[in-house]
Symmetry: C2
Subunit: 295 residues, 2 copies
């Protein structure tokens, strides 16, 4: 059974472009850039296209961390966007409280934060993030399972919330504030990869008693269950409700048998085709796969 | 001495994208697409970045021809654009004759034809080609060595004209008509590669007595002198004037010591940076390198 979206041929040129953007972000040394690109090419040669795109993302960013000697090249942008979003939060929280449907507004803001993704962009301005927030508040949901999500939240006694990026995790707080207290576990990555949120980011944005914070034990920019610790897999399978943020979590979990609500901005043509929407659209997707997957 | 533009790191993701576009154009079989991409990845691993981009282009298109079993996947688009441009030629010739400066207008139209390049585009509409022709007639020349070219044409007793693409070669006729009869040799590729012009295309557009037609004996989408037959290298070194069309010829010849006039549309960021202009600009560049190249 495939439990993940496979890598499409279109992903391959994009991986190389991402690797080039990422190593340039990590430093100016062109010899290093060439070494990284050569190593990524060798990894791409070995890659099985049956694996999900974050599998390759994991390998690319291990190469970059090793070749730059920098264990966390995105530390500065993570801290920057955590701070930037924290500054917006009081104003946005007022808009949630004043909204006709505060839950929907909180969901939309949590999804808006998903634009803060350095896997696909090597430059991201505060202005663009602010524009995306405003756009996401009013844009029709391309896939709209919001009412199912609302009902699932109301009836759940345990909720697992899989975070995606730093910065975004500050906006997640607005949705966590709408989930039942004492029942929610927030999951971050086990160690730095791209600008994905780790325990440090959860601490930086002050999750407090909104959720118990857990990490998935890996440096995968997504959730590859086989690599996660037993403790995490247990929580994942036993939770009444799993809310998954972002493309990386979707790509790695989209084939899972258990029901998952995927919340993300569709940011690339491959994933847009997979879920059946246009690039740039906003997705609230309830997905549960049959025990036997179609080929 | 390097006699060519080297491959930049940015070229690598682009090569893979080009390979994917090209094999999809050559057929629908996704297994074939995956085989091509794997082989191109392996070639990219072996590639020396000191070689020019058309070196990799040569290898990519050999792989595609082999894997598809089709010795000329671009035959249809070559024939199509030869025919399309031939249809426009009578009207454009009248505009050359009526122009204040017929030579400049002919140069601009020859450059406009350079947009018919399937190395970078996998789809190209007749409408876009027509728009590019009109735009190129009026756009300021970004690098403007037109007067040097005019003077060189007037004094040359032998001219070598290196053609680039099918379709484009029909527009080259308007410039060939402005060159001295009996002194010009037109060079095409030795065998099919991408939509580059071969002897078949020279015949299809009817070069007639405008120039002697010669081929460079290779399947390189450019001119790698070391690979060309002795006869061609002799003509190349002895010609009073060499006019080179397109990016592929520029990339392979830009480091040569002899003077060359390069005529092309700058179609990618790497080449634009190399010549010092923006993407989309029109270039008439006289280039002659010192005997010792700077590092």
């Amino acid at each position: 059974m495939s439990a993940a979206m496979k890598t499409f041929l279109d992903c391959i040129p994009c991986f190389l472009k991402q690797a080039l953007d990422a190593c340039r972000m990590a430093g100016d040394d062109e010899q290093m850039h060439a070494r990284v690109l050569r190593k990524v090419l060798h990894e791409a040669c070995r890659l099985s296209f049956d694996r999900s795109p974050p599998e390759m993302g994991t390998r690319i960013h291990r190469i970059i961390r090793k070749e730059t000697g920098n264990p966390d090249p995105y530390l500065e942008v993570k801290q920057h966007f955590n701070g930037f979003i924290l500054g917006l939060l009081p104003g946005l929280r007022k808009r949630v409280e004043a909204a006709a449907d505060p839950f929907e507004t909180a969901v939309r803001l949590a999804i808006a934060g998903n634009i803060i993704d350095f896997a696909l962009a090597d430059v991201l301005s505060e202005e663009f993030v602010s524009e995306t927030i405003e756009d996401t508040l009013v844009r029709p949901l391309s896939i709209n399972h919001l009412e199912s999500l609302r009902a699932a939240v109301d009836s759940a006694s345990s909720i697992l919330y899989l975070a995606d990026n730093a910065g975004e995790i500050a906006l997640d707080k607005l949705l966590l504030e709408r989930l039942p207290r004492g029942k929610t576990t927030l999951v971050v990555r086990g160690s730095p990869v791209i600008n994905d949120a780790t325990r440090d980011d959860a601490a930086a944005v002050g999750i407090g008693d909104l959720a118990e914070v857990m990490d998935n034990g890996t440096d995968v920019p997504g959730t590859i269950l086989d690599r996660c610790p037993e403790e995490f897999r247990k929580v994942f399978s036993e939770a009444d409700l799993v809310i998954s943020k972002g493309q990386g979590n979707y790509e790695t979990l989209s084939g899972e048998q258990r029901e998952i609500f995927h919340l993300f901005k569709a940011k690339c043509p491959v994933i847009s085709r997979d879920v059946g929407c246009d690039v740039g659209q906003v997705v609230v997707l309830r997905r549960k796969n049959a025990r036997t997957m179609p080929a």
